[in-house]
């Protein structure tokens, strides 16, 4: 798989609520792959790839925002930060970061105070975020001039290609899915499809799926697919919620997922001999899918996920072949949507 585009996404900022840098990259890429491209009031990208039929549309949503930090207080030459999204604080100390200030990007590191200087009882286990500081190497005066509260802080980890077709980097959640959707759009260029395809790169998923909510309301698709990441098996992660890395995408099962769409995706993957897992989602899925499903009058929805290791850390790991398989599954699903498909989505009572 060509990973240039994905790697450019991983090297870009675009934290929840501050997605402009990553949105610009996707906009540039999708411009030639879609017939129409615009942006919602919240900042989500909506790309329309027209089908040959009339009216029916499928929305494929991948959130483009990433977790990170935001400067909450400037204290002399050091910065206090708050989290944007569910960050794993255990891995923060020692990380290289980029502080995005109006005066340009500044390299910094996350430091934790020496154990004996922390309040009693706070030195055990992971040090709370409120005690961590960011050091950008500037004097207090320079910091005051260059950095303001509200500046975002993203991980500086550059993407790393590893053996066995694995790729490590921060924000693979969910830019691995953005890459899969982009690949799907590329494949669709040379495929016939009847239904309109709305490709959406949504904002603010990591803080509550707000982008998906308004995008589904605006687009009003007939069916919706949320593509996200799920847990791959790894050290200490072996239970039923985890899937082998490189074992293909997962197809959601549970209330958020319309049973008919689940069945269709399963049969399609089997027919194409694409390996897949079944992701049991007994309640809310914690993805854009939760909001797509309950938008407008309710939209038949399915959650498709790509397994990654070390979720919400700066070294998330994906098998690139899972991205390709996800793209292929999406492409073939779009291609098989016929004029009568919507009428087949009924409740089998």
């Amino acid at each position: 798989m060509k990973t240039d585009f994905l790697k450019s996404l991983l090297s870009s900022s675009g934290l929840s609520g501050f997605e402009i840098p990553v949105a610009e990259l996707i906009k540039e890429k999708w411009a030639s792959l879609t017939d129409e491209l615009d942006q919602s009031a919240l900042g989500s990208l909506h790309g329309l790839k027209r089908g040959s039929g009339k009216g029916h549309s499928v929305m494929i949503a991948t959130h483009m925002d990433a977790i990170g930090l935001i400067v909450s207080k400037v204290s002399g030459e050091f910065l206090h930060v708050a989290n944007l999204g569910g960050i794993d604080i255990r891995v923060l100390p020692g990380q290289a970061v980029i502080v995005h200030s109006e005066r340009g990007d500044l390299s910094g590191i996350i430091a934790q105070p020496p154990a004996h200087l922390l309040p009693e009882g706070e030195a055990k286990g992971a040090v709370a975020l409120k005690h961590l500081l960011i050091d950008v190497g500037l004097s207090a005066r320079q910091v005051a001039r260059k950095i303001k509260i509200g500046d975002t802080v993203s991980f500086a980890t550059e993407p790393t290609e590893m053996s066995g077709g694995l790729l490590a980097g921060h924000s693979l959640d969910n830019r691995a899915s953005v890459a899969a959707l982009t690949l799907c759009l590329e494949e669709l260029q040379s495929r016939d499809h009847i239904w309109d395809v709305w490709a959406a790169a949504t904002v603010q998923e990591e803080i509550g799926h707000m982008g998906a909510s308004t995008s589904a309301f605006q687009i009003r698709p007939d069916i919706a697919i949320a593509v996200n990441v799920t847990f791959a098996k790894g050290p200490g992660a072996t239970n039923w919620e985890t899937f082998e890395l490189g074992s293909g995408p997962t197809i959601g099962l549970g209330a958020v997922n319309h049973p008919f769409l689940h069945q269709q995706f399963k049969e399609l993957a089997e027919k194409l001999e694409i390996p897949f897992g079944i992701e049991i989602l007994p309640g809310r899925s914690g993805t854009d899918g939760d909001d797509l499903q309950i938008s407008v009058e309710g939209i038949p929805t399915i959650v498709i996920s790509i397994p990654i290791r070390y979720m919400h850390t700066p070294v998330e790991v994906v098998a690139t072949k899972d991205i390709q398989r996800t793209a292929r599954l999406l492409t073939e699903f779009v291609a098989m949507l016929d004029a009568d498909f919507l009428e087949k989505i009924v409740w089998d009572d």
Partner: protein, 105 residues
Amino acid sequence: MESNNSGYWTANIKVWRLWTPVLLNMLKIRKPQLNLLEKLTNATAVSGDEGAIRKIVRVEVENIADEIKTDAMGNLLVTKRGKGRNRLKIMLAAHMDEIGFMLVN
């Protein structure tokens, strides 16, 4: 205080004794209703898989409803139209799903 309270309850019990049979008669909780309740409670309909209850309710209201439809989520929407012009709408919602388990492994 205590005696006042017991007086209050005694008075109320008298009221309930008088009216409960009348109310029950009005609500007609009789054999058919109990049978329906039995059917509903014996059916399995965990969240996201409510088809069994949907089917029972649909059969039950078929003859009295003006419109019945199932939406994208699987909600059963039954309309009973009122009379007169400029009608307002009231929605009576009762969730039909129940808690349960999903086999995961």
